[in-house]
């Protein structure tokens, strides 16, 4: 199977869906002539032309709102946010209009929009550019939220997202863009709302998603080798809809849980997971649910310190050892 990058996998998904459905339009800042701020859309303008690949001004409320409106009339816009951090200036369009229009119209309207872009810290760009809003987004019924960790998942999930009739928010990661993984040449899709056990284990379950999957897999290797601890890593892949059955099955097997997430702790995705695990698997737990998050402060700039503010393999190992103690 060919090895391609996470960035290429997303690009291939876009290209395949653009070719499949003439209603798909890719739109965002620098997506066309500049070939993408992070080169995700590199070459799409040359292949599909300026009607399908559209550069926007720096105007997120305007162009995201435009995409929402166009989607109500049957266009399938795939909007790129250069950083998901910029969602704050389009909040009303994303979370009032896209999220609510179906409900407020009594089900008369659907909004098949995808908004995608990177949402991560760890690149020393300070607090304004390092937001991870998946918890904020997923707090809004009516939307779907996807956070892929690998090239294979990114491609299959993005294709499902574009075909979905509900608004889907797709959160990528600039640090993962260059990571390579096996991706089949034949077409495939991965349904939203299906978790993936990335590593099987027996002693403790790590529930995680996004780049923290990669940290957790690295930590699991060390824990196995140096400490004889067998860690199972459950990658949620999609935050909403949530494949909680896979989480439950793993917890019932290992009886110990660590949630790892690149989120600030207060009211994070992990907060919801912890509530659900204690509610539905209380008797299966041999100890309290543990959680590893970003250290609770705005994203620090200082490069070596930011690494320590975020989850990383070393912090995951410590957290697992604490949970096993």
């Amino acid at each position: 199977m060919p090895q391609i990058t996470y960035r290429e996998a997303i690009r291939h998904a876009l290209a395949e869906e653009l070719a499949r459905d003439p209603n798909v339009v890719v739109m965002g800042e620098e997506v066309a002539q500049f070939n993408g701020a992070y080169k995700v859309t590199d070459g799409l303008l040359a292949t599909f032309g300026p009607t399908r690949i559209v550069d926007t001004p720096i105007s997120e409320a305007g162009f995201i709102g435009l995409g929402v409106g166009a989607s109500m009339l049957g266009i399938r816009p795939v909007m790129e946010l250069m950083f998901w951090s910029f969602y704050s200036v389009a909040f009303d369009q994303i979370l009032n209009n896209a999220a609510n229009v179906r409900y407020m119209s009594g089900g008369q309207i659907n909004c098949p929009i995808v908004i995608r872009g990177p949402a991560n810290g760890g690149t020393n760009v300070g607090a304004t550019h390092s937001h991870t809003p998946e918890n904020v987004l997923a707090n809004h019924p009516g939307v779907k939220v996807v956070v892929p960790a690998t090239a294979y998942d990114a491609k299959g999930l993005l294709k499902s997202a574009i075909r979905d009739n509900d608004p889907v928010f797709f959160l990528e990661n600039t640090i993962l863009y260059g990571d390579k993984g096996e991706v089949p040449e034949a077409e495939y899709v991965i349904p939203l709302g299906k978790a993936d056990v990335k590593r099987a284990g027996t002693d403790l379950t790590i529930v995680t998603y996004g780049r923290c999957v990669i940290h957790s897999l690295k930590a699991a290797e060390v824990l196995e080798k140096d400490h004889g601890i067998s860690v199972e890593v459950v990658d949620l892949r999609t935050i909403r809809p949530l494949d909680f059955d896979t989480v439950l099955a793993s917890v019932k097997k290992t009886n110990r849980v660590l949630i790892v997430e690149e989120q600030k702790p207060f009211a994070s995705v992990g907060t919801q997971l912890a509530y659900m695990i204690q509610r539905e698997a209380f008797d299966d737990l041999d100890g309290p649910i543990h959680r590893l998050t970003t250290i609770d402060a705005p994203a620090i700039y200082s490069p070596p310190v930011e690494t320590e503010q975020l989850p990383n393999p070393g912090r995951v190992i410590k957290a697992v050892l604490a949970a096993m103690a």
Binding site: V25, G106, G107, K144
Partner: protein, 371 residues
């Protein structure tokens, strides 16, 4: 009232019509007697519907509970704007507006029974009791809401225009907003995109002089529609008390959108007799004398009636019959709303996701809802 006089300031789209003879403008001269009467009838239907809704708001239901909750932003006084604009709609023309949306909903042809039922929060409402007064929608009538956040609908309307252009349809997206919306950033972002991309949208500013309780003089610098010049858009202004005048100006701007795919902005001077919403005691920012002056001299329904009487299209008797029918329709809509059931708790989680409403076609897995 601290507004500028409503002179025609149609700087870019040259006006072929003099201020005095709007009835003779081609778009109006072409109207049959029946069509003229329909304009009047629609305005009076809106007026009677809203008066009836206000009575319902201010009274209790037979069980002693609330008939209508939340906000009720009445359009009374502004009827000629929505009716004039929406009367020009062709099959590829679309409408979107803000929260003062009852007039537009009736003007695009929505049935008043589900509109009143929506105010009552009933399952027979146009949004099944899930949207309320501010959130009327009817995609089958090309009506896309009904939006609660000031200015938030303006990018959406621009997106409707984008879709029309993308799909190669000759139509226009009439995107209504109030005078308060022009100071929202989303409006300016939409103006820029519409002009930059040559989108067939007409931005309609319904200028009733007050953004809630703040007069135009205290909220907005310069003439509102003239801001279009900064985005290289044509703009026009007219008096919104005469439905013929509204149609004469809007016809030109809709043609610009449909034929040349160019956006433009129209500022239509109008006036609301009621407070910003029913919750506004309306005693802090304008005088009763000002309201009375508009009501007595510029009421759009009276203006229209006098013209139709003068034209010989209506008589006092036939006008009275139309009014009686409008009152009966409003009463029937209230009876329908009153007799309709509320949604049940089981309905709360319907209409959230397309997928949860179409379970057999669902592709995703996992939990969509949480408790």
């Amino acid at each position: 009232m601290s507004k500028k006089p409503s002179a025609i300031a149609d700087t870019k789209a040259e006006s072929a019509v003099k201020a005095t003879d709007y009835a003779l403008a081609p778009v109006n001269a072409a109207l049959s007697s029946t069509q003229r009467i329909e304009l009047y009838r629609t305005m009076i239907r809106i007026r009677r519907f809203e008066e009836r809704s206000l009575r319902a708001y201010q009274s209790k239901n037979p069980s002693g509970g609330t008939n209508i909750g939340g906000f009720l932003h009445l359009y009374i006084g502004q009827e000629a704007v929505a009716v004039g604009c929406c009367s020009l709609m062709g099959k590829n023309d679309h409408v979107i507006t803000a929260y003062r949306d009852h007039g537009h909903a009736i003007a695009v042809g929505m049935d008043t029974k589900p509109l009143m039922a929506e105010l009552y929060g009933k399952i027979t409402g146009c949004s099944k009791g899930k949207g309320g007064s501010m959130h009327y929608f009817s995609p089958d009538k090309n009506f896309w809401g009904g939006h609660g956040i000031v200015g938030g609908q303006v990018p959406l309307g621009t997106g409707l225009a984008y879709a029309l252009k993308y799909q190669g349809k000759k139509g226009a997206a009439m995107t209504f907003m109030g005078d308060g919306a022009v100071n929202q950033g989303a409006v300016h972002e939409a103006y820029n995109l519409a002009s930059l991309w040559n989108l067939p949208v007409v931005f309609v500013i319904e200028n009733n002089g007050y953004s809630m309780g703040t007069s135009q003089a205290r909220s907005s610098a310069g003439q509102l529609a003239k801001r279009a010049e900064g985005y290289d858009m044509a703009w026009g202004q007219c008096d919104g008390h005469d439905v013929y005048e509204v149609r004469a100006l809007m016809d030109k701007h809709l043609t610009l959108a449909r034929e040349q795919s160019r956006p433009s902005t129209v500022e239509i001077d109008t006036y609301r007799y009621r407070g910003h919403s029913v919750a506004d005691p309306d005693n802090t920012y304008r005088t009763k004398a000002e309201i009375e002056e508009y009501r007595n001299k510029k009421d759009p329904i009276q203006v229209s009636l006098q013209k139709l009487l003068a034209e010989g299209v209506l008589t006092e008797a036939s006008a009275g019959k139309i009014d009686a029918e409008a009152r009966a329709e409003a009463e029937n809509s209230a009876d329908f709303a009153d007799a309709s059931p509320y949604p049940t708790p089981d309905d709360i989680q319907k209409d959230v996701y397309w997928e949860s409403d179409h379970p057999t076609e669902r592709k995703s897995e996992g939990r969509l809802f949480f408790d």
